[in-house]
Amino acid sequence: MANLKEIRTRISSVKSTRQITSAMKMVAAAKLRKSQDSIVQMRPYATKLQEILSNLSESLDSKEDNKYAQQRPADKVLLILITSNKGLCGGFNSNILKKTDSLLKDKYKDQFKKGNVSFIAIGKKAVEYLKRTQKNMISSHNELLEESSFNNVAQLADSIMKRFVNKTFDKVEIVYNEFKNAANQNTCSEQFLPIEVKSEEGSKINHDYIFEPSKEYIVNELIPKSLKVQIFKAILDSIASEHGARMTAMHQATDNATELLKDLQLDYNKARQAAITNEILEIVSGAEALKG
């Protein structure tokens, strides 16, 4: 039986750990609510933009001419990894890194062998991973996670789009955690450039719109916007997922600590009782000896 003092110290240390994890859970829950709000805030803009765009491109045949829709053989690939800046969020980051690894082993095997896969990292964990495995990282944007305003994200999107247009890259993909709900994240990779032309059935132009200046001009204006929104959405999703993952992880840690505490308390009570029994035994046998 471990001695009483030892158990007491362990109990108090587990208790304070549990306090920390439950506080972290609370913080994550609050942040999750905030980041969920910003996803909801962005949604009307994204849906409306998509609506106008699909309305328009339906009536245009020149989709392939767009510089962002150019299909080229994918020689040079750019992957954008979105992770978190902080740890303690369960499998959140390692899922992204695993997904990246499997992309490199599978889909972009040939390009990777030739060293034609580059990376942009958003989040410290991605930066650490790329440095550790000595991959070709062209830039990192950790600050976007702290202050994810649309303008900052748009700047990044602009620079990526420029690189695509001047053929530095033939294909750009985003690897991120899609937000499902607080307990579920879906690690996914999404093609960013070239644009995948989605033809939506049943969307009809029921109004005789006036287009100013012209349909083509409007489409060309809107496509970069929708690309920016796509990255922005990925980042917001990832932030919400991070808080969700952290909340779940911390919840589990708190539960585990409670469980551990229960066991320790039991051990402690047993040890204390054993010590008392021992003492009584000693006294009784001492008295017994005096008698005889």
Binding site: Q41, P44, L49, I210, E212, I218, K228
Partner: protein, 80 residues
């Protein structure tokens, strides 16, 4: 007519208005009641809203797009 102004970050305006003046790519223009359906891109400039009580509201934008149908106007903007 009903107007919504939306940025990627939030909805900045929502409500009944009388006149809206927009900085279109081909120059400034106004939308009043029963305007024909229109989609237009917007340039950097100021959106002016006149509501039913003739109060004016202004928004600075750096670009965007407007869609108007059946007296329902939706303006997607990037705030300036």
């Amino acid at each position: 007519m009903y107007l919504e102004i939306i940025t990627p970050e939030k909805k900045v305006f929502e409500g009944e208005v009388r006149i809206i003046q927009l900085p279109g790519s081909l120059g400034s223009f106004e939308i009043m009641n029963n305007h024909a359906p229109i989609i237009s891109t917007l340039m950097e400039g100021t959106i002016k809203i006149v509501d039913n009580s003739n109060a004016e509201t202004f928004f600075e934008i750096s670009g965007g797009v407007v869609e108007s149908t059946d007296n329902k106007i939706i303006v997607l903007v990037e705030a300036g």
